[in-house]
Amino acid sequence: MASPTKKLCVKPEWCKGCGICVAFCPTETLELKNGKISIAKPESCVACGMCEMRCPDYAVYLTEEGDN
């Protein structure tokens, strides 16, 4: 169930591949692809923000739709 209002964004150029976001996402939405963050299943994101709050490199975040 993707969130109707929030959009999941990634910034692979800041990602160092630590895997924290992948480990703490409750819905297995994220994966590492060639050592960088990638959205594996956008439809499963519940916009809980677990990834954003624990990403040490600010490489994943949620925006309000139309925010950017």
């Binding site: 964004c9 910034k11 150029e13 800041w14 160092k16 591949g17 630590c18 895997g19 924290i20 480990a23 703490f24 954003e52 709050m53 624990r54 990403c55 040490p56 490199d57 600010y58 490489a59 975040y61 949620l62 925006t63 925010d67 950017n68």
Partner: protein, 273 residues
Amino acid sequence: MASRLIDEYFRQSKLPHIWCPGCGHGILMRDVAQAIDNLGLDKHKVVIVSGIGCSSRAAGYMDFDTIHTTHGRAIAFATGIKLAKPELNVIVITGDGDAAAIGGNHLIHACRRNIDLTVVVFNNNIYGMTGGQYSPTTPTGDFGTTAPYGNIDLSFDLPALAQAAGATYTGRGTAFHVPQTVKLIENGIKNKGLSLIDCVSVCPTYYGRKNKKGSAVDMMKWQRDNAVDAKKAASMSEEELKGKLVIGEMYHREKPEYTAEYQKLIEKVGGAK
């Protein structure tokens, strides 16, 4: 383009930061910005002061008036800034070595004065920047490059140390416990006096590797699985608390604050000339 929080409070030309993959310092630095944002502080009335260490690099990334000082002396510089302009919110970002080893004397005397500073310790239980020497918060028995057979020292409990020295707000958060840690930093900033927030970080590169703690993810799962809130810990025995990490608010009292007392003294003796 990054998130609103990062856009607003970070010098993006300096990102990505130099911290290692999985270093908890990045999470804690974001927590400080989130706390400032939640309180709606005027950006131009916030000063970030740091010493030297991986943790102290934070002052270079955060988009406020910042000063990256010398090792152990962040609190001394912060004291000067606060006394010159008491209306500023002065936040010290420091490491366990910076705050409690070389800077330990500054720390206890700032606590004794109860000067209105918020000291946020990025505590990774090691000297990260210089390659893994043990610090005053390295647990007994753990390894560092300077403790190749295990550390025989007892470690400091930083909130307890600060409280004993006179601080009026203390607590402990972790890299894993983001909302709780943000709240503690907020409360620390609001407290009119010396606040110390011990933020347990993760250093997978040195502390983790030297002590076989696994990856950054493993170290954060350990924090998740072993943290006990201070309120619950109060009713637990020493035996039950063995190997646990007590987090949450530890102490909050009101006492006269140093810059206010200093101002009163100025008025009493006839005002500043």
